[in-house]
Symmetry: C2
Subunit: 335 residues, 2 copies
């Protein structure tokens, strides 16, 4: 982070026409974004939400409430602006980029869908590694390319996901990296019952026990129990942070992607911004590991980038206040 | 509330392309706004933030960290778009209406300032009623007129305040209406020290003991210990609710105004929406009395409508998702 930009932002906050500190967390966040952007008065005029979709072989184990075909159907829905993230990105004035990084099913799509599939879904992580190390590296690279080719001028990037079965991969990744017990980071995803939840936890325990996973090597974790969209989103976070672009984490899946990115390069954590607290139990574990404190808790559990899109409006407000408010001197008010 | 519109909104939420309930509180809020607006797919395309300013005779008692002249100086700042609420209303795409309903000091202002002063500040509530009953009624009427004349087409109105000394009046109003002990609803406002806080609580105790206040008559409470901006904002809430326009409460001062409106006509509470949890202790007491649960807690204490302006973006997202998302049928996804 750019300490000098942060100092200047802090100094400016104390000169603006308000009691010092009276915008509370909005002030702190604006200072942090100043440090990320290397600009004492950053603007968030070009927000982008990247929603990455992929399928997961582990759905064979009955860990999801929805069939695999829903992933492709939702990509089609994203392409025609019909999904939750489309509506919420629009509200935030954000561009919504859709990436197919490994969808198994068929869809028509349109120009909106960037097609960079690594494979037609991962292998079933219950029986072996979700992907090869080469595939994991390639998927991270796809994420980097998406930023370079499609969002080089973004001033904030929100992470979003779609992939039936991806809460299983995310719980496994979270347990692997943080060392948490799988039972403590595994939730109901899009709505499985008690029996399904037990099955999900058992699958994750078995996968982590069967495989040698190096928790300090993010690529290895993604290989062993990850997903293509998790790896791609990690790549987005890595590339964005290397370009000083703040990255807004959404729910539990993007949280797992952010953890993976952090296990690849710790410096990424300086560029992460929280959004909501998801109903998935493991979200708190991720936030704690990454040093993030959610902005709000609306009991959301949709993913896609929906919570992160809502947060963009809040971050934009924080930056607009820092940049556009008058100082006491400008307003001619004696202090 | 329009139960039929709410039923239809709820039914639609369950058909949209997401697991039912997965947008959490955003779904509930959209249904509530549907009931307020009497429209199963409401839009929030014309938001308005009304910031009402007035002065308070009680500042003579040394209850504020800032001198009275700051009220007029801030009205000038509002008029030139230099204040926090200007920046945050702009971020939310909201019109920001500024009303002088009783500022004591001089300012130049411009067309932005609607000048409807009742008097040059209230009388010192430590020594007698803050205003006459006629003035209280007149101030409520000004609020009603502002909605009728300046915001008839608003689809949501956020309440904002400016007035050095107005946390003292707000604490007195809150204690009077809810029956809470003054010490439990009195905070540091824009930043007084321990001694000032003790003085503030003592002033409120004395005022409530000296005067016969009818807690079920909102106008009487405003007369005894209120403020012109509190009465005007109560009028805004009453007029907006009679027009089925949702009203977003900001911090502690607008909370006191909302309580006053509720003590004038209980039905207003159906049209109130929360925004943030302020650092003022009495804010929770107000929320509890009005049945509101804040959306976020950023430790804000600026007033002006700043927290409510941030909340507009969230409400707009909730309504846009309800209105613009595709149903499973529209998207051709079997359920």
């Amino acid at each position: 982070l750019d300490e000098s930009a942060m100092d200047r932002a802090r100094e400016r906050q104390d000169q603006l026409t308000k009691p010092p500190g009276s915008l509370g967390r909005l002030e702190e966040l604006s200072v942090r974004i100043a440090g990320m952007a290397g600009d004492p008065t950053p603007s968030l005029d070009s927000p982008v939400v990247v929603t990455m979709a992929a399928d997961h072989g582990v759905v064979e184990e009955g860990v999801s409430a929805f069939p695999q075909s829903v992933t492709a159907a939702m990509v089609e829905n994203f392409a025609h602006d019909g999904a939750g993230v489309n509506a919420l990105a629009r509200t935030a004035g954000a561009e919504n980029i859709i990436v197919d990084i490994g969808v198994a099913g068929d869809y028509d799509g349109n120009d909106r869908v960037i097609r960079k599939p690594i494979a037609a879904g991962t292998a079933n992580l219950a029986n072996g590694p979700a992907m090869s190390r080469e595939e994991a590296i390639e998927a991270v690279e796809v994420g980097r390319e998406v930023v370079a080719d499609h969002a080089p001028d973004a001033d904030v990037i929100a992470l979003g996901d779609m992939g039936i079965g991806n809460t299983t991969a995310s719980a496994a990744v979270t347990a692997a990296i943080t060392g948490a017990d799988p039972a403590d980071v595994t939730g109901r995803g899009s709505g499985i019952d008690d029996e399904g939840l037990d099955r999900k936890i058992a699958v994750i325990r078995r996968a982590l026990a069967d495989r040698e996973v190096d928790p300090e090597d993010g690529v290895d974790v993604l290989r062993a129990v990850g997903g293509f969209e998790l790896a791609g989103l990690a790549g987005i976070a890595l590339e964005a942070s290397s370009r000083r672009i703040p990255v807004v984490v959404d729910g539990f899946i993007t949280g797992a992607a952010a953890l993976s990115a952090w296990a690849i390069d710790e410096r990424v954590s300086h560029y992460l911004l929280p959004s909501h607290r998801s109903v998935e139990d493991g979200h708190d574990v991720q936030h704690d590991a990454l040093g993030l404190e959610p902005l709000f808790d609306f009991g959301m559990r949709l993913g896609e980038g929906t919570g992160a899109a809502v947060a963009i409006g809040i971050y934009r407000g924080a930056c607009t206040a820092l940049r556009e408010m008058a100082t006491f001197e400008e307003a001619g008010i004696p202090t």
